[in-house]
């Protein structure tokens, strides 16, 4: 029984062999949408192809994708040719893509759009980098096919317009495998020769495949980097190639490019004749003007009173003007004075004075009243004092029968201590003086203790 078990490897190898010999899986044509796209650094491309119902892992090896004209991206609808097989290590069946192209618009168109968008973002189309085309070229390099309508149109147009310019054809392949390298070499050669002042790069109209070399990023960049200004005249009016965007001026056709490259000699000659005529006419006019002026002076000199009269008139006018001005100035000043004096009268201090005077009078009245009141009060108080004082007067006391003793020195004797028997004293009474002699002294007990 055990011998009936097989290894995973054996099973996978079996499945792979089955698939590889299946004629339907050897070459499949599939359409679907790209997702999970990854361009591995080693060159292989990995992605998932899906539709609404299913998905399949897919790989496109570097050897197959090298010739892709566009870069696949997520969401892109594609048409695929390839085979289905098993990737043994992962045990996974997958699609091996041999060729890939966008569904809908062609692969070339997709590539064109991608390159255009990328280079535009990188600034290759910016107006600021455009070089100026020389107005009067000396030597024009024409990079185009040496046969065909384009070169004929360019040469005949330039010979007709500006036959004195040197034209040099730099023959290139404009289509096919070699076209890109051929054009790149030509641009580089022309830039190294230092004898050209303008480059025309041209090609007649054709399909997008025919014009493909001019959509090549390298060609467009070489045109951008050219030190010599480049005029492009590629294809027809409706076709814009990437090179048209990087050139300094884009003409619609090769003939248009030739017209932009050089002026018309006839136009220049006309311009020159016109300028010569203007030169003469202007100078004559100036001379005539001065002549007229001179004649005017001379005739004035011949009749000096005319000059004089004119001056008189002028003087009158000046006098009038002066009076007029003076009057106006006087009016102005007057007006100013009047308005100032009105303002001044409003500022008169009389009113203020009256007001202050009123206040003063009022204050005086109040002061009078106050001082009278105070005086009255003081008078009353004084009378009160006088009355009280009268009560205290010793004469008043004596009226009631009191006597005051004086010693011989005239001092009041206020105590028995100062008197001894035999001393003379006088007593003052209310209506006279008594001279007395002390017979005996009786001191109060209190004192004689």
């Amino acid at each position: 029984m055990r011998n009936q078990y097989i290894t995973v490897t054996a099973l996978t190898k079996y499945l792979k062999k089955k698939m590889d010999i299946d004629p339907h899986l050897k070459q499949v044509l599939i359409k679907g949408e790209i997702s999970n796209f990854k361009h591995h650094s080693r060159g292989h491309m990995y992605m998932t192809i899906k539709d609404q119902g299913a998905q399949i892992r897919a790989v496109m090896f570097a050897s197959d994708n090298r010739h892709l004209k566009f870069l696949p991206e997520d969401g892109m609808q594609v048409l695929i040719e390839g085979n289905v097989s098993v990737f043994e290590a992962f045990g996974q069946y997958q699609l091996y893509i041999r060729s890939l192209e966008p569904d809908g618009k062609g692969a070339l168109y997709a590539a064109y759009e991608q390159t255009k968008e990328k280079m535009e973002k990188e600034g290759y189309f910016d107006q600021q980098y455009k070089k100026e085309i020389p107005a009067f070229p000396g030597n024009i390099a024409i990079i185009t096919s040496p046969t065909g309508a384009a070169i004929r149109d360019i040469i005949s147009t330039l010979k007709r317009r500006f036959p004195i310019v040197q034209l040099t054809v730099i023959p290139v392949m404009v289509q096919g495998e070699e076209a890109v390298n051929s054009i790149l070499t030509a641009i580089s050669k022309v830039n190294h020769m230092h004898t050209f002042d303008t480059i025309i790069i041209g090609r007649g109209g054709g399909s997008i495949e025919d014009l493909w070399a001019f959509n090549d990023e390298r060609v467009a960049k070489a045109i951008f980097h050219s030190d010599i200004p480049v005029i492009s005249g590629i294809g027809h009016e409706t076709d814009f190639t990437i090179s048209d965007f990087t050139s300094d001026v884009r003409a619609v056709t090769p003939t248009g490019a030739a017209e932009l490259a050089a002026p018309s000699l006839i136009d220049i000659n006309t311009h020159l004749r016109q300028m010569q005529a203007t030169l003469t006419r202007s100078t004559q006019y100036i001379i005539q003007t001065y002549k007229n002026e001179l004649e005017n002076y001379v005739s004035n000199l011949q009749r000096p009173n005319r000059l004089f009269r004119e001056k008189e008139q002028y003087l009158d006018k000046l006098t009038d003007d002066m009076l007029h001005h003076l009057k106006r100035i006087y009016q102005n000043r007057l007006h100013t004075y009047q308005s100032l004096s009105i303002r001044f009268s409003h500022l008169n201090p009389k009113k203020q004075y009256q007001q202050l005077n009123e206040t003063k009078k009022e204050l005086t009245r109040r002061l009078d009243r106050q001082s009278k009141q105070i005086l009255q009060a003081k008078k009353q108080q004084l009378q009160l004092y006088i009355h009280q004082l009268a009560l205290l007067n010793p004469l008043e006391i004596m009226k009631r029968g009191y006597a005051i003793p004086y010693n011989m020195d005239g001092d009041i004797v206020s105590s028995t201590a100062y008197l001894y028997p035999g001393d003379d004293v006088t007593f003052k009474l209310k209506d006279g003086t008594l001279a007395c002699s002390i017979q005996e002294v009786w001191r109060d007990e209190k004192d004689g203790r």
Binding site: I155, K159, Q276
Partner: protein, 76 residues
């Protein structure tokens, strides 16, 4: 002044300037005469340059990078 080493383009531009100058109001007479003379010289120089310039032959660069006459244009 119109010296011979001047390019056609420079001479033409100078001539245009002189003409503009002359068309201005109030050019002093001496200046006007001077401008007129300069203008005439410039215009002659331009004329000469155009007349003396030969009609050039078209050349073609061969594979070695040498220039040779271009047998142009079938049937021309």
């Amino acid at each position: 002044m119109a010296d011979e080493s001047m390019t056609f383009e420079t001479a033409l531009k100078k001539l245009e300037k002189v003409v503009q100058e002359l068309e201005k109001e109030e050019v002093p007479l001496e200046k006007a005469i001077e401008l007129y003379q300069e203008g005439m010289q410039l215009s002659k120089s331009c004329d000469d340059k155009l007349k003396n310039a030969e009609n050039k032959m078209v050349k073609v660069m061969n594979e070695e990078g040498k220039l040779e006459p271009f047998d142009d244009v079938q049937g021309d």
